[in-house]
């Protein structure tokens, strides 16, 4: 029986290092190629030796698909393609293709230049890797080869994020990447058509959360920032350069404008300007409101938000700083955090999910004494706030997507095991489909039962459907035909045509039975009576009406 096999190399009952292998109808596809923020050793990249021990990855994989530019979805790509070695096609959307190399370069710089790691991918490798990338449009059907086709859908989440449908013949898998089912201040909501995949692989970051309305969260966020600034404190908002940052910038920009606030807002690193430029050039990927008004007013041109300089961190007085990266695991956000952590007037707002092992995760789980590099202990006195602004679908959103796509099976990745368990039950209860949640390295096999497409001769079909047009049209009808199987083609034709095509003559089988009937009536009348009687019976016989009034022929 045909089957689909799925093995997560990363993101199996875990968040980070997304990398999922899918085998469908003899084709092997790798979904995402991410790194893990929580590790600095081998575990940060997926174990590609799992795919093939000896032999080239290119021979084994038909294609690689990257869902969006976050490093936990594309961070291992240059390592995978240039250091392990893969020369096949890599598919991603245009914005992802544009932004991905910049984030990779940023990541490389932090790892190599700041932490002094060797044996890491180089700038040239990032460039060479990007040469293997084929950019795809939304809804475009990309023919990877003659049988394998993929199609991208809008996923919200970040600029250029996409869900992908992978299809071979009539079997298909849909992979959501990270997605968001509610439109936010700069992006639209994820959407997929009723594609009825055999398997839907969905993220489940917020498997158990049902979030309150966005408006409340925004009001809360603004209130907290405002209060801190009013009392002269500094607000640190660790973000990734692209994504939430733009949404929160739009939010603060409009608030500052409305309230006529004077405290400076800064955005760290040189990425800002560049990042906003990407949003301007790829404005067709943002939400409808921004797209509609961009000619009059481009939402990504900020008046109140200025570039940050390292020296500003020591300035007296209130300020708001957006700094990268978002999980406080390295770079500028961590530096500023160390400077400001000791003052209880200050505040750090974590607007997104933090992976285990990062400073962000530690302070969010209540830890207030942190061991830093060199055994230093950092005491955190500043206020720590968590606000879920990450654009992942919550439980309600995940259910909504399943309802949209109508999959036959669901597989959860990119979430925590406990929460997945809960969602899995809910999905199985509500949709009566199987739901799987394999751990990393564990293979899930799903049996599919595809129907077989054949060619039916138009003559036969028309004959059959013409019968269907009779008054009793709704009632199903039995049809008879002959299936000709030759090489790999299947054709359904009428029995007569099949014989004709194969040059065979029909063999006629007749059966004659003599029956003695005693009847006082005239010969002619008797025959007619017998005929009328038999005609009324449902028998698998052909009846020929009496000819010449003398003979009744029954043929089987």
């Amino acid at each position: 029986m045909p089957e689909i096999k799925v093995t997560p190399l990363g993101a199996g009952q875990d968040v980070g290092r997304s990398c999922i292998l899918v085998s469908i109808a003899g084709k092997n596809v790798m979904l995402d190629c991410g790194m893990h923020m929580g590790y600095n050793d081998d575990r940060r990249f997926p174990d590609f030796s799992y795919i093939t021990q000896n032999g080239r990855l290119t021979d084994f994989l038909d294609c690689v698909i990257i869902s969006h530019f976050h490093l936990d979805h594309c961070g291992a790509l240059p390592y995978f393609s240039e250091m392990v070695g893969y020369d096949g096609p890599i598919y991603m959307t245009h914005p992802t293709k544009a932004i991905c190399p910049i984030l990779l370069e940023d990541y490389r710089k932090i790892t190599v230049d700041k932490k002094g790691e060797t044996n890491f991918f180089t700038s040239q490798m990032i460039k060479d890797c990007m040469k293997k990338v084929v950019a795809v449009h939304l809804h475009q059907t990309v023919q990877v080869d003659e049988e394998l086709e993929i199609k991208a859908y809008y996923a919200g989440h970040v600029l250029g994020a996409a869900m992908f449908q992978i299809k071979v013949g009539c079997e298909s898998v849909a992979y959501t990447g990270d997605y968001n089912m509610t439109p936010d201040r700069h992006l639209g909501a994820a959407w997929i058509d009723k594609c009825r995949p055999d398997l839907l692989i969905t993220e489940s970051t917020y498997a158990t959360t049902i979030r309150d309305s966005k408006r409340c969260r925004e009001r809360d966020f603004l209130k907290k920032v405002h209060e801190t600034v009013e009392r002269g404190g500094k607000v640190l908002i660790p973000v990734f350069a692209l994504g939430r940052a733009q949404e929160l910038c739009i939010l603060l920009e409009t608030f500052w404008e409305r309230m006529n606030l004077k405290a400076p807002i800064y955005f760290s690193t040189g990425l800002t300007e560049k990042a906003n430029h990407y949003y301007k050039l790829f404005i067709t990927w943002t939400n409808q409101k921004i797209r509609k008004t961009f000619v009059q007013r481009n939402m990504f041109e900020f008046k109140h938000i200025k570039a940050f300089d390292r020296a500003f961190a020591d300035n007296p007085g209130p300020m708001v700083v957006f700094a990268t990266p978002g999980m406080l695991h390295a770079g500028q956000s961590l530096q500023i955090f160390r400077k400001w952590a000791g003052n209880e007037k200050n505040m750090v707002i974590m607007p997104g999910y933090c992976v285990q092992g990062t400073v962000g995760h530690k302070i969010l789980s209540g830890q207030r004494k942190l061991e830093m590099e060199g055994r230093q202990i950092l005491e955190v006195k500043m206020q720590v706030e968590y606000m879920s602004f990450s654009a992942h679908a919550d439980a309600k959103g995940i259910m909504q997507l399943i309802r949209q796509a109508e999959p036959r099976n669901v597989l959860l990745v990119h979430g925590e095991a406990k929460k997945m368990e809960f969602l899995k039950q809910k999905i199985e209860q509500e949709f009566h489909v199987n739901c799987y949640m394999p751990a990393n390295g564990e293979t899930t096999t799903i049996f599919t039962n595809p129907s077989i497409p054949v060619d039916i001769s138009l003559g036969l079909l028309k004959r059959e459907t013409a019968i269907g047009l009779l008054p009793d049209a709704k009632k199903p009808k039995l049809m008879h035909g002959t299936l000709i199987m030759k090489d790999n083609s299947f054709r359904l034709v009428s029995p007569e045509q099949a014989l004709k095509e194969l040059g065979l003559a029909e063999h006629q089988l007749r059966f004659t039975c003599r029956v003695h009937i005693q009847d006082p009536r005239k010969e002619h009348e008797t025959v007619l009576r017998v005929y009328n009687h038999l005609k009324g019976q449902v028998f698998p016989f052909f009846f020929y009406p009496p000819r010449n009034g003398l003979e009744l022929i029954i043929l089987r």
Binding site: H94, A135, H137, L138, H139, Q140, T141, K274, H277, K280, L281, F282, T284, F294, V295, P450, S451, I452, P453, V454, D455, I456, L458, G459, L461, E464, T465, I467, D472, K474, K475, P476, K477, L478, M479, H480, G481, T482, L483, I484, M485, D487, L492, P495, A498, L499, L502, L504, A505, E506, H507, Q508, L509, R510, F511, T512, C513, R514, P540, F542
Partner: protein, 651 residues
Amino acid sequence: MKLRYCLSGHPTLPCNVLKFKSTTIMLDCGLDMTSTLNFLPMPLVQSPRLSKLPGWVLKDGSTFLDKELKECSGHVFVDSVPEFCLPETELLDLSTVDVILISNYHCMMALPYITEYTGFTGTVYATEPTVQIGRLLMEELVNSIERVPKAQSASMWKNKEVQRLLPAPLKDAVEVSMWRKCYTMPEVNAALSKIQLVGYSQKIELFGAVQVTPLSSGYALGSSNWIIQSHYEKVSYVSGSSLLTTHPQPMDQASLKNSDVLILTGLTQIPTANPDGMVGEFCSNLAMTVRNGGNVLVPCYPSGVIYDLLECLYQYIDSAGLSNVPFYFISPVANSSLEFSQIFAEWLCHNKQTKVYLPEPPFPHAELIQTNKLKHYPSIHGDFSNDFKQPCVVFTGHPSLRFGDVVHFMELWGKSSLNTVIFTEPDFSYLDALAPYQPLAMKCVYCPIDTRLNFIQVSKLLKEVQPLHVVCPEQYTQPPPTQSHRTDLMIDCQPPPMSYRRAEVLTLPYKRRYEKIEIMPELADSLVPLEIKPGISLATVSAVLHTKDNKHVLQLPPKPPQPPASKKRKRVSDDVPECKPLKPLLSGSIPVDQFVQTLEKHGFSDVKVEDTAKGHIVLLQEAETLIQIEEDSTHIICDNDEPLRKQGSIF
């Protein structure tokens, strides 16, 4: 069988309807605007010259038309709101059109007439750039006509009896009864709201019967050719395609292969001009005029070739010493057009895409604007009049010279021989466009830039994609009327193309013989294939046919229902299929020896075989049965019912 209705005779502004597998598909709805050339220009400011024109008087001296027709520069023009020639609306009931496929923004200008006036209830498919820029073109059109209120709407001259008496070209104007005034913005918005956005290579299912797919055509931002196909037939609709590398994504030729029918429209209107040469001539004429202290007027559409011209000028102005000459782009949609051009990275050629990845704006006009070399204004009123410096270069519409800001500049600059008007758009004859402005002192240069396919490229394309049949407008099957010796300026292919003309219905030659049907896995499992010939197997299929949304599925027939426990007669359930008798498929001849052996095995001991002329007769004396065996028939004759069953089991 497919029928094609041709609703527009204009080869570059097509409007055709295709009936294909029970769907009715309209291909483009182009609006023929050449009709406006018969009207007087609409000046933005009171023009003493145009307002004092004498009314036209018939030869017999009757003056009943002098309000409607004016004599100007030796020609007669209609003094009225300009009107456009609509596609045919009577040839078929347009409310039955299921979908409209748009190939590029120039070919959708009649959309509001179709969607708002014919009872159309279907969907329109187009790419995002096509819709956005198409909206700008319509907005500009509506705006330039509505801003000059004209009380008069002439209709008397259209009377057939009257038209006969008029001088050419009014006398020969065709379909004047179909001419209509411009639509309004609410109608434009209503029409555009019926559009569904699509991307290149997106497969769109129509009612489960037909699949349509837009392909990049290389002509303009978002321009597309369309594939219309079922499982067994493929129609390619090629409209406005280009193989030149300008700003749009290159043309997708490979996907056009294996077409049964290829409909070819929208070839270049100026087959003898080389676009590159024309751009060179454009630049040198522009530079010369400006150097001599004159102004340059470029009548143009607000999107399209203007992007390429600005890019050429960007590279050219410094070397030509034109850095201080202001460039003005005047259109109600100038700003939008320039902004929109920068956000369609995915629809651009490779070079421009790479720039976006940096991230830099793909078109250099961003820099021209930043450095104040290019300025754009919604109209000549307002800021423009303060900033206006001469000598300068003005890009403005409409290319017909009948409405829009261009009319003002023609009146303003026409009298000086220092100035030049350069025609780059190929849609209007420049001499006809200039007619109401004659006599002119200003220089007129004709540099039509039409990047669409020429006949050499077409014949190469056809050799490459090899369609079974080519269908095209009749204009492409003969040399242009003015150059009848140029037999190279027509489509040359084998078999010769089928041609069409306005208001004609064409039956396309192709007949399909098969249809897709799906066999459910349970049914497939139950089939018993029999190898009849080496490599060929047959299986008899008896199944229930389900047809839904034009998809056919064969299912295992349900098991016969259990006889009801109660004696009460139940109505036959709807699920039980009506049994049409199955006639088993029998073929071949019966090997007599084997047959006899089998009979003996079944206990017939007294089998007797007689040879006849055509075969054998087998006699079973005890059973009083006679079996006639011939090459392709077997006849069993008996008296008793019982052996019959056994006979059946042997077969």
